[in-house]
Assembly symmetry: C2
Homo-oligomer: 390 residues x 2
């Protein structure tokens, strides 16, 4: 496991690197699609390759509940189970326990929760969290964190941040495998003082990578950006930085500009299944009547399977009929859009032209307006079901 | 357009042939997967090729309602619209109008119905039926037929059969394109006298192929087989015969044995989406707990993408989680199973070993018991929704 920086942008904090894992090397900055339940919804691993996906995220919480860690272990680990031999990150399950499960009790020892599926009771500790992720056999594993919701008080976030620190240390101590990289997760909500304490604390413990958690939870974008700025400045230069839950084109630019190397988010795949498709001009809604007889592809400049083979009219038809192929073709397009974007960002960092690339992309791209974005985010976080969201 | 017989089985009526269409040749006997709404649910045309699919069926009724015939015509026809350059059959819409739409009035002129989607009123005539199918640009098109339900009285079926005959003649007279083959559909329900009249009447008119409609509607299998026997005997040797709505392994054997060349059915794809998977021993239910940690593929001898790459345990997991990939991997397996079965039937007809092949397959294969089969069929016909059935 290693991380090597290839080039840094002289005008921003953007950087290009190579992350080496037991299942192959990944060029950074990189976006990891979300494969919650050991599947990136609707796609096969063959398609991951075709899309240029370098690394995939899977959810320990979901896999623990279904099919159960012991099933995946017995079947030879997550790579073999899902048929993907490339790099995998598993998250700690902390985020899901605190946002999706029915929370029962948090103590310094661990967290008692009820499954969102069948209400069964479970107790998760930092030691179990590491043991599960070792059994799942991911390349990168995450320390257990406590992730308070946006809007939590200073005192509540302070307590969660301190607990996250102690849990990270216990994860480190209980880790047995040497062929997996353990990343610590910086918490601290929107409170700079807590973020600083968390970042310096974890850096002192020393991890193989550092994630920034507890963002993209409905807070304004300026707050996200300020927290990332503040946090990244305190993290070591030579370790990968991973911003959790970020995946829109405009947000990826902000993160990369601030020195983030790894991102994950369900956004590109989730909006795809709802008919929201990325184009260089912004998101389109494919169900819109104007696409009913649109002969061209969704995006003329796109090299994805969907754009090379099908008209926007065909996609419109599939969505109107709620055909299964709709979700798949849309997912292919959105992921390829993001993959190409990350590839181009990297190329421009290497060429020294990242700032002008960013400027020209954002000049064409109309982001979803802030009000809609926040409303969608809150609606999603409230009404999640595991079939069409995660 | 041509049909050439390559070999006939000396012991049964089974025959192997080559059906040539403007979009390529098809080896018969052949099974046509159902692509109701211009998509074989969850699959891309690339996968049709990989599965060995020779010809696909699409539904005029559904495409007329959504996206509308004029949209597909404007976009260059069905092949281009759905990205499949191989042979296509479109059905007449008759079956759907009489089973899925809200029927208003049938007269000799045509049929008035309300859409099952939005209740809008439409009038379909034999002439419009041909015009729509000419615009859709399929290789094989079907004459408009009236398809009474199983259990209809002799008089009702008699009237429908006579009407079907006159409509077939009008379809023939209104047909303009010479690069599409028009097939007539034999009706007559379970009444041998009506079947004979229908078959000889259509044969006298002379079509490029003959379908047997109005079967597989819930009647006992012995009745289906007897009607097929009686009908096929009256159809010309040198034209293809198409048994509509048949798609289980055991029924395909019965049809092929009786001299049928073409089949279509939603069964293999529909049961796949419900977790019913073909194996040489019979159908398995993948949600069954015994597959929870089953390390091997669904079917050891299967060469499909699903069996080559994934354990039964992974499919079990995907189905339990209602993941989109479940429906796709299951569809791939079931269609490949049927494609291989048809390929093997053909090979054995050519080798003169069809009867022993049939015997050895059926000795291993436990069909779904008759009671369950009929119950499932009726339940499906009653509760159809267009998303997971048709």
């Amino acid at each position: 496991m290693s991380f090597e920086l290839a080039k840094s942008c002289p005008h921003t904090r953007a950087r290009a690197g190579i992350l080496t894992t037991p299942h192959g090397a990944v060029s950074t900055p990189v976006f990891a699609p979300v494969g919650t339940q050991a599947t990136v919804k609707s796609l096969t691993p063959d398609e991951f390759f075709a899309l240029g996906i370098g690394i995939v995220l899977a959810n320990t919480y979901h896999l623990y509940l279904r099919p159960g860690i012991e099933v995946i272990e017995k079947l030879g680990g997550l790579h073999r189970f899902m048929g993907w031999n490339g790099p995998i990150i598993t998250d700690s399950g902390g985020y899901q326990v605190f946002s999706l499960a029915h929370l029962c009790r948090v103590s310094d020892d661990g967290v008692l929760f009820r499954s969102h599926i069948d209400g069964s009771e479970h107790f998760l500790t930092p030691e179990l969290c590491v043991r599960f992720q070792e059994a799942l056999d991911a390349d990168i594993i995450m320390a257990l964190d406590e992730c308070p919701p946006y809007g939590a008080s200073f005192d509540a976030v302070k307590e969660a941040t301190e607990r996250t620190h102690h849990w990270a240390q216990r994860c480190q101590e209980s880790k047995q495998r040497r062929d997996q990289a353990l990343y610590g997760i910086v918490q601290g909500g929107v409170f700079m003082e807590l973020r600083r304490r968390s970042a310096t604390g974890l850096t002192t413990l020393g991890f193989e990578g550092y994630a920034i958690g507890g963002l993209s939870l409905g807070e304004p974008k300026e707050v996200t950006n300020a927290v990332v700025d503040e946090t990244v400045a305190l993290l070591p230069q030579d370790k990968p930085r991973y911003l959790m839950g970020v995946g829109s084109p405009e947000d990826l630019f902000e993160g990369v500009s601030r020195g983030v190397d790894i991102f994950d988010s369900a956004l590109p795949t989730r909006i795809a299944r709802n008919g929201g498709l990325f184009t260089p001009e912004g998101r389109i809604i494919i169900r819109n009547a104007r696409f009913r007889d649109w002969d061209g592809p969704i995006d003329d400049g796109c090299d994805c399977y969907t754009c090379r083979n099908f008209s926007a009219a065909y996609l419109h038809h599939l969505f109107k009929c709620e055909e299964l192929l709709a979700y798949r073709l849309a997912t292919i397009h959105n992921l390829r859009f993001i993959m190409r974007l990350m590839e181009e960002m990297r190329k421009n960092i290497l060429n020294g032209s990242f700032p002008s690339f960013k400027e020209s992309f954002l000049a064409n791209y109309e982001p979803t307006d802030e009000e809609t974005r926040v409303a969608q985010k809150r609606k999603w976080m409230k009404g999640r079901d595991t079939k069409f969201t995660t």
